[in-house]
């Protein structure tokens, strides 16, 4: 009887520890989630608040003096809508090109029978670890004749070596038997890639798609360096300019009043909303994709 009681007691004790652990873990996760969310919530609140409330630091979580004029102001700005178009277009084109080229490079590198595979892989890894630097890269872009063109936003960054390695490992995780049976059925390499490898690596590809899309959407440095035509500037460059105006010194910008903090917040919202809209649709693949590609191989 005593022994039986002890066993029950032990089970209850273990369960309580687990519960406490889970509650603590949940609290910690919620805590960090709130920390991550707070700045975003504040930016949203500022975008919908009156200038005076924002300037005097009264807006913390909820908007005060609710107004949509800052968003309207941003939407009415010629440069903003133009930059949004460039950002959307470049992100779509870049992501498609990047995914296609990454697949086409990763697939052969994942085939163990590829001659000189290791040497080729070394070439990829080497360029990831030791890139040419900004001046040589600029010279390459110049020699390609794409300086100050839309393609300067696409071609120079179109393949990420890191993403190639992730996808190579993703492809390596697919059993060789599937390729062999497809070959026996008369499939060519392109058919195998498109019909077998790509569908089986969907999670990894979804993750890479997000990596590429986010990197292009947020990228501004290459645009500033390679492009002179302001009509080709993507959104992050314009956002930086709008925020910079608020920080700038008089003699740098002495022509009109700087945008208020609320206007700056409204600009930030427009830049992050598209990514936030897309993210939930890809999120289910995201963790799985990175794990698949990263662990195996």
């Amino acid at each position: 009887m005593v022994t039986k009681t002890k066993k029950v007691s032990n089970r209850i004790k273990t369960g309580t520890e687990t519960k406490i652990f889970r509650i603590l873990a949940a609290l910690i996760v919620v805590f960090f989630a709130v920390i991550c969310l707070l700045p975003f919530i504040r930016v949203v609140s500022e975008a919908f608040s009156g200038d005076t409330y924002v300037a005097s630091g009264e807006v913390i979580l909820l908007p005060k003096g609710f107004t949509t004029k800052h968003l309207k102001f941003i939407l009415d700005t010629h440069q903003f809508t133009r930059a949004m178009f460039i950002s959307v277009t470049s992100t779509i084109v870049f992501t498609i090109c990047a995914i296609v080229l990454t697949c086409m490079l990763a697939y052969p590198l994942s085939r163990t029978y590829l001659p000189k595979r290791r040497a080729l892989m070394f070439y990829v890894v080497f360029t990831m670890l030791f890139n040419g630097g900004i001046v040589p890269t600029y010279l390459v872009v110049k020699q390609l004749g794409i300086l100050n063109s839309f393609w300067a936003l696409i071609i120079p960054q179109v393949i990420s070596q890191f993403n190639v390695i992730v996808l190579v490992n993703g492809f390596l995780g697919i059993p060789n038997e599937m390729e062999e049976s497809a070959l026996l059925d008369g499939a060519g390499q392109f058919t195998i890639l498109l019909r077998i490898m790509v569908p089986l690596c969907k999670p990894t590809l979804a993750a890479l798609l997000l990596f590429y899309a986010v990197s292009r959407w947020n990228g501004w440095f290459d645009a500033v360096m390679y492009i002179n035509d302001r009509n080709l500037f993507p959104l992050p460059v314009i956002i930086r300019d709008i925020i910079q105006q608020g920080l700038d010194t008089l003699f740098h910008s002495l022509t009109s009043p700087p945008p208020t903090q609320a206007v700056q917040s409204a600009a930030v919202i427009f830049s992050i909303v598209p990514i936030i809209v897309v993210y939930p649709f890809l999120q289910k693949y995201f963790v799985k994709g990175v794990t698949l590609g990263g662990v195996k191989g």
């Binding site: 200038d51 005076t52 300037a55 005097s56 630091g57 009264e58 700005t77 010629h78 440069q79 000189k116 290791r118 040497a119 070394f122 070439y123 080497f126 360029t127 040419g132 900004i134 001046v135 040589p136 600029y138 010279l139 390459v140 110049k142 020699q143 004749g145 794409i146 300086l147 100050n148 063109s149 839309f150 393609w151 501004w220 440095f221 500033v224 360096m225 002179n228 035509d229 302001r230 009509n231 460059v237 930086r240 300019d241 910079q244 105006q245 608020g246 700038d248 010194t249 008089l250 003699f251 740098h252 910008s253 002495l254 022509t255 009109s256 009043p257 700087p258 208020t260 903090q261």
Partner: protein, 551 residues
Amino acid sequence: MRKLKTLAAILLTLALLVSLVGCSGGSGSSGSSSNPSKAENTTETSGSTSEETSEPTSSGATLQLIMPSNVQDFPEGVTEDNNFIVDYWSEKTGFKFDIVVLPNSNAEEKLNLMFNGGEVTGLVFEKDLTAPSRFFNQGVLQPFDDYMDGSFFFETYKDYQSKGVIDGHQYAAMIVPDGIPCSSSLYVVRKDILNGIGITEQPADFDAFVEMLRTIKEKTDLIPLGVYDAPSNSSWDTIAALFGVAPTHNQWAVRDGNVVYRFTQKEGYDYLTFCKQLYDEGLIPQDTLSLTFDSLTQLYLGGQVATLVQDSCWELPNLMPASEEKGYDSRFMDYPTGYYGQVSTGSQDRFFSQAIFLSSLAKNPADYVKMLDFLALPETIEVNNYGIEGEHFTLDDGGNRVLTEAGENLQWAVYYRNIFPPEEWYPVYGINANWAEYYYPSERHSVGATDFDPVEFMPQKAEDVTKTDELKETIIDQFYAKALTGEVELTEETFNAMVEDWLASGGQQIQDNYTEQYKAMGSPDFSGSYISYLPAEHPEYTGKYLWEGHE
């Protein structure tokens, strides 16, 4: 197998090197990727050679002009190459233009890349006065020496050109359009609060100013004086200048014929002692070192600060209306007279100037000097600064320009307003940009100074400026901040130790360099150069924010 791997690695490395060399090959000779057809308003991408850019003849040659960065955007239908200003230039000179506007962010890196990539084949307008020195060191500039004789530009602005001489040659053409040699800092106060505690007059001198702060502390719960950052930084400009020390500008002075760094002089010690007194008495925020411009503004608008030093009037078009909305009676208080008789930053501060330099790849330098001459013509300056008469402005009975609606929307023209005499400064920026209400109050104190900064008139060597900034950050700022909060005891001994450290760390060398340059110039007295070009009349200005209203 191991040998094969090694061989493959070597071959790949060689391939990399060869491809890099291949990429850089011809970049110099290809010159600019600038597209001359841009001047004809097409949207083709760059990548063409600089053949047209290098045309030796004036007529029809394409000149590349690289304009300084700013934040203004071009409206729909207007681009840097396609607007009435460039059309006017083309019509009058016969040149075509490839205009490049540097980005607002990372302009320095961009210009550096463009030079390295052989993309700069013409004239560069730069606000960074160390740029000529940096690019001279890279060997990518050519001097104007052979083309200066008879040049209208160089004749008109000859007084400034000593600042553009590097290694005995005129590598930069200098222009000083700023007609008001002072900073734009303002002292903003809550008049409603001050009146409420019996302060109805502005403090006439420095002691009265300090007494006013003490009264605020005694009779209210507010922080008497809002400042942020270390006392050696720009936010303290107004206070520092009362002691003859200006944190961001005017850092150098002539003492006994030698150029010295003001922060290391007795006035620096006196100033720091005063800052510490303010801190110890609780007259400034105790967390001043961690405050920022934004957080201090929030404190002011949040009703926690009674008076506020604004190191720039740039934010005032936002601050003052917000303050009014809060029901505050915010005004600009006059600067008191300092310990040394100074009238704060109004009397001695910076000149805003620009450097213009020519790429070594420009094969038609005479054409570029002709262009400078054209830009210096009064009629060109009028078009650049105000637009076309009848379309962008009209003349009233007194001969004053009155902007039309189209004229008021020419903010983008700022990129083309690089050359004009100081008399134009206030009309262009003070009145036409609707800044008079905020700008004029800060500048109306500008008077001829007697304690000038000689370095303002010298070529800015990049290495000296960089080293000065580095020493300021690592030694001056550190000591001033720590002494303020008491982390370091402030005595003459500790101050002198800091000065010794600064001198030994490279400060002595910089002082010697500047002294040598100053003496080579004949030890001139530049005080007469600090001339204010504020207009006698300024009808657009109401003065509603002054303590006493319009004067």
